[in-house]
């Protein structure tokens, strides 16, 4: 296929219309190499120390060797630790924000956590030292890290099925737009659920496991700087079938999550936090115009967590080898019956896909960042 000289000229003129400081870049590469070599030495030391610590723990007390109850007490996890500003951990917090425990062993770039229904495993996204986001699982004791999706395609937003046997996620095996897929929890048996030509994202399961709800980016053209102009919420049978559109009002509909009884869906419409019936009817405002991200319903259905944007601080968080400033979200809890909402201490998380997870009715697991 021959090239187009006019296109080539336009691209070349644009690309070379600005100066590059190559010398500064070369110095940065040298510093980057040295920093990584030093970090690897530190990491090797830490790994040895952790292994020694785990061995000591195993001798003195081995709570995970004897199996966990279906809904274990947060006290069984590793004790919390102080979190420095800009650093992340996976913490279990009381509703007043007080740390109860933490999940050890996650990669530094782990994000988009989801907890298996039996509380034994976490699914999450990591680049695992590579360049592409992949889905992995790890036991909540920090062992048995396992990469589930292949290296050559970006996979994100894992969501465990209610019976813990499958994981829904968004994927683009060919590098194009993403669709919703499900796989077995061991990374086998990939099944494609959606086939539309637009970006599909944010899958969540209905409590009975029959349906996956997701966001379709809509019929507008996808642009990276003017994206998700009119996303709507759809459902699709988890066993495969035709999607059903639930929202159609003008304005973006995002972050759907089922109530624990499966009769309602919380989501954001425009600037509002809304609730609708599971069939898309009866939409009404839960919280008026504001900043609401990643709502999640508590197991008893009485509360909803969500994040609100804080523009005062943008933590510099690493992923896929780069460090980028990310918007900071402050964790809130809403009482559904009264409409009263309050922040959970000064708990922050970066990136709206790091949705908080209800560990129990009184505790939240969150990929928090020190603020």
């Amino acid at each position: 296929m021959t090239g187009d000289p006019r296109l080539r000229d336009r691209l070349q003129v644009a690309a070379e219309s600005y100066e590059l400081d190559t010398e500064a870049a070369r110095s940065s590469v040298a510093v980057g190499v040295q920093t990584r070599q030093r970090n690897r030495r530190i990491a090797a030391f830490v790994v040895v120390a952790v292994i020694v610590g785990l061995l000591v723990d195993a001798v003195t007390e081995a709570p995970f060797d004897h199996g966990m109850p279906a809904n274990p007490s947060p006290s069984v996890v590793v004790p919390p630790r102080t979190l420095s500003r800009g650093h992340q951990d996976a913490a279990i917090l009381g509703l007043d924000g007080s740390p109860i425990g933490r999940i050890p062993g996650l990669p530094a770039d782990a994000s988009e956590l989801d907890l298996s229904p039996d509380h034994r495993m976490l699914a999450f996204v990591t680049a695992d030292g590579g360049v592409q986001a992949r889905i992995a699982t790890i036991q909540v004791d920090g062992t048995h890290l396992r990469m589930l999706t292949p290296q050559n395609a970006i996979a994100e937003q894992p969501a465990w099925s209610p019976d813990g046997s499958r994981i829904a996620f968004k994927w683009s095996p060919d590098g194009g737009h993403t669709d919703i897929y499900v796989m077995d929890a061991d990374g086998s048996n990939f099944t494609r659920l959606t086939r539309d030509p637009f970006e599909d994202s944010a899958p969540r399961w209905s409590p009975d496991g029959s349906t996956v709800i997701y966001v379709n980016a809509g019929t507008r053209r996808w642009k990276d700087q003017q994206f998700l102009q009119s996303p709507d919420i759809y459902t699709v049978p988890a066993a495969g079938g035709h999607p059903t559109r639930l929202t159609s009002e003008p304005g973006p509909d995002l972050y759907p999550d089922y109530s624990p009884d499966g009769t309602q869906i919380v989501y954001r419409h425009g600037d509002e936090l809304r609730v609708m019936n599971a069939d898309g009817s009866g939409s009404h405002v839960l919280l008026p115009s504001g900043s609401y991200f990643a709502p999640r319903w508590s197991p008893d259905g009485e509360r909803i967590t969500y994040g609100t944007y804080s523009g005062s601080y943008r933590p510099n968080v690493g992923f896929e080898g780069t460090k980028l400033k990310r918007p900071l979200l402050i964790l809130h809890v809403l009482d559904v019956a009264t409409g009263a909402s309050s922040p959970v201490g000064r708990t922050g998380f970066v990136y709206d896909l790091n949705a908080p997870i209800w560990w129990s009715n009184d505790a939240i697991l969150i990929r928090r960042v020190g603020v």
């Binding site: 296929m1 021959t2 090239g3 187009d4 296109l7 080539r8 336009r10 691209l11 070349q12 003129v13 644009a14 690309a15 070379e16 219309s17 600005y18 590059l20 400081d21 190559t22 870049a25 070369r26 110095s27 940065s28 590469v29 040298a30 980057g32 190499v33 990584r36 680049a127 360049v131 986001a133 050559n152 395609a153 970006i154 994100e156 937003q157 683009s172 060919d174 590098g175 194009g176 993403t178 994202s201 053209r221 996808w222 990276d224 700087q225 003017q226 994206f227 998700l228 973006p252 900043s291 944007y309 992923f319 896929e320 080898g321 780069t322 980028l324 918007p327 990136y351 709206d352 896909l353």
Partner: protein, 172 residues
């Protein structure tokens, strides 16, 4: 840069030479794919850091070029995808209004026009029509068949010509 490892000493070409020759092209390529000039430079630095770390396994300058471009393009695409997944753009925190540091209209016009292409179309057009790779190399970098690259390339060129108000070429 201090390069004195045994692996590097056995290489018939030096990392510094490769860096000096290829960094600008990789940075500008990543900048076009990401439509962000500063990010292009940052991504290229990361790509060359990774290239340095595996220098003992680099067999040729073409291998080095393809590796650096593959990392850079994948980082740029990941950045776009993750930014797209986070709809902060609806409200402002992630949205870019215009590049205040833009030094030329040429950049702004082309960067805007590239937004009409899907990420894969954009990568194919930029790698072929700016970075001068052939479709076989682009297929290797993207992990897709050369015939698929040609499809994305044709569609991407068509969209880019339309966005830039250029007449259609006869694609052969």
């Amino acid at each position: 840069m201090h390069l004195d490892s045994d692996a590097l000493a056995t290489s018939p070409f030096s990392f510094d030479e490769v860096f000096a020759e290829m960094f600008p092209k990789v940075a500008r390529t990543a900048g076009l794919v990401a439509r962000d000039r500063q990010l292009g430079s940052d991504i290229a630095q990361e790509a060359f850091t990774r290239l340095y770390e595996r220098w003992d396994r680099i067999a040729s300058t073409d291998h080095a070029r393809n590796f650096a471009l593959r990392v850079a393009v994948n980082l740029a695409r990941s950045h776009l995808r993750r930014r797209a997944a986070a709809p902060f753009g609806l409200r402002g925190p992630e949205i870019r209004v215009s590049d205040a540091t833009a030094s030329s209209d040429a950049w702004l016009v082309v960067a805007q026009a590239l937004g009409d292409l899907s990420p894969t179309q954009r990568v194919c057009v930029v790698l072929v029509d700016y970075a001068d790779l052939d479709t076989d190399d682009v297929g290797t970098i993207l992990g897709i068949a050369p015939s698929t690259v040609r499809v994305h390339l044709a569609r991407g060129r068509h969209k880019l010509r339309a966005a830039l108000s250029l007449p259609e070429e006869d694609e052969r």
